[in-house]
Symmetry: C2
DNA sequence: GGCACGTGCTAAGTTATGTTTGCACGTGCA
DNA sequence: TGCACGTGCAAACATAACTTAGCACGTGCC
């Protein structure tokens, strides 16, 4: 679903977003099961505030998506899950991405 | 030539290195022809000092390599060229890389 | 009411990254 | 000698990124 006309700026954004250990762990964890913020924070051993920041970045570049759901006992819970993505990193794909760089 | 046992930390380093417009342009330019620092700086329209910093980072993570050569008129010139690399970025490859993260 | 659980936000501090500027040293040649 | 070209390095500044700490608000339940 990639390779076709990748925008250079998006390309950079995706790489920047994934070049963080916390965010990589988030993606890895969510790829095994969707999860809500507080629980994911506990499982990863990081603060909820920190996780939220990282989740927002991941969502901003389209690597994960979220939906607010109500639990049986009425709590509003925000579930996240990974979207399927595939980016190939080679000199060729980079040369192509560079063509549409604006920065 | 990748995929086999990628180290998580290296994974992060490579992504961090490539998440910069200047460095992407460097890789793109070098993938078309090897070049020496001063000339590449002129072609990219950036300062030599800046380019050197970026080249050093690219070389540090093994995306490019350099060799010092003497031109016909005796000048010491440092040539850079891209190394072949291929990194697949998917939820699966990320999940694998995370397993060997130390940071 | 008070506690446990969920959500959201942001100010403030620390740390990392990017960039400029300036200097040093070398060669060939008019 | 002086200029043009190549190299290298580092201090200093500006900017971006990361992280913590603290607050607000909501629900269910003892």
């Amino acid at each position: 679903m990639e390779a076709a006309t990748v925008n250079g700026d998006e390309f950079v954004e995706v790489l920047a977003t994934l070049s963080n250990p916390h965010r990589l762990r988030v993606v890895a964890a969510l790829s095994q099961q969707r999860n809500y913020v507080s629980r994911l924070a506990r499982e990863l051993g990081i603060s909820r505030a920190l996780l939220q920041v990282h989740l927002r970045k991941l969502e901003a570049v389209g690597l994960v998506e979220s939906q607010l759901e109500l639990s049986e006992d009425g709590k509003a819970m925000k579930f996240y899950e990974v979207l399927d993505f595939a980016v190939a990193l080679t000199p060729e794909t980079i040369a192509e991405a560079v063509q549409t760089l604006t920065k």
